[in-house]
Subunit: 175 residues, 2 copies
DNA sequence: CGCAAAGTTCAAAAAATATTGAACAAAATG
DNA sequence: CATTTTGTTCAATATTTTTTGAACTTTGCG
């Protein structure tokens, strides 16, 4: 299979970009690019996930590069990121030494991966900063201490609520 | 009250930055800066909210500018953004024509504001893009159409799950 | 009205982030 | 083991986002 030419429906002709992507592929890539951007991820990450999402078959890095027209570096880093939050999986194929990638489609796994790998650590970091804060507050004048203890207590309460919601939300995401 | 000098505890001395902020104020500002960054908001927005959060009294824009050392432009835009997601409120004071600002402290209101003003619109936009996609898919070859309809259905299912979770989560956030 | 204080806007500058590509490393092939 | 294919790394570059500040608008006050 030299190139997937002619196998699919209409092609978007775009001398430069979108080389060889069908309209639907382009639309899906755009969709995930806007999702990625909403989530503060680089565009290339959205592109890659979108392409994998629209592809029936798992794809190898060089195919991704060719279809999206990105650099090796971007592709490598984008794939690394997506793997790191378990949004994609590696697929091995006999007789081919490249790694192939396919998207995780279950919302539960997607959300869990993002939560565990990306959000969790930052939350932990925040909690630690809060603890340090307490020490500083303890040394304030009684007056100020009261105000600040009150406010910090507020953040604590936010954290507790968050902790309660998470497992509950995950239960919703079965499927 | 010319300046809050001497009223609070120790000062962080920093010839340039943090002019006149106590250690706790600095720590709280940093805390919210890292939250802001986590949520993909500009640093200045985190700084402003952090300062208001740490302040017993509502503050006016010129006070915020002085304490954080930001430009008028940044302060104006940051305050606008925070107001637009209802993370802060305007407070009026007799005999002072400046607007004073105080932070919203209820997680429920904070979350609701963010959801309604910032996230909701983008989700709607996404839903619309999906609808357009359907049209394109309808014109594909039966083979491909099947695959893509399946995938799009997956996104639909994500959306439905999201819709179910939101009101539920809001119920949790009673404050 | 005329003035001054408060606040907004936006083009230009600065800072932060993402992307590229060439050099490098690892691993299979023959 | 030399060679080729696959994939990574990272300094340089390109792009995007944020910040600044000066010009401008709005508002309240005498």
């Amino acid at each position: 299979m030299t190139q997937s030419a002619g196998k699919n429906g209409k092609r978007v002709r775009n001398g430069d970009s979108h080389r060889g992507l069908s309209q639907v592929e382009v639309a899906l890539v755009e969709f995930f690019v806007s999702l990625a951007d909403m989530a503060g991820m680089p565009k290339s990450v959205g592109e890659i996930y979108g392409l994998l999402f629209s592809s029936e078959e798992p794809l190898a890095m060089d195919e991704i590069i060719a279809k999206l027209g990105l650099s090796k570096g971007s592709a490598s880093q984008g794939l690394r990121f997506l793997r790191s939050c378990q949004a994609i999986r590696t697929v091995y194929r006999v007789g081919d030494r490249r790694d192939f990638y396919e998207p995780e489609l279950g919302l539960r796994n997607l959300a869990a991966g993002l939560l565990k790998e990306k959000i969790g650590p930052r939350l932990a970091e925040g909690a630690q900063k809060l603890a340090q804060l307490e020490e500083v507050i303890a040394r304030e004048s009684p007056n100020l201490r009261k105000v600040h203890e009150n406010r910090i207590g507020r953040i604590r309460s936010w954290q507790r609520t968050g902790q309660k919601i998470i497992p509950f939300a995950l239960k919703f995401l079965k499927g």
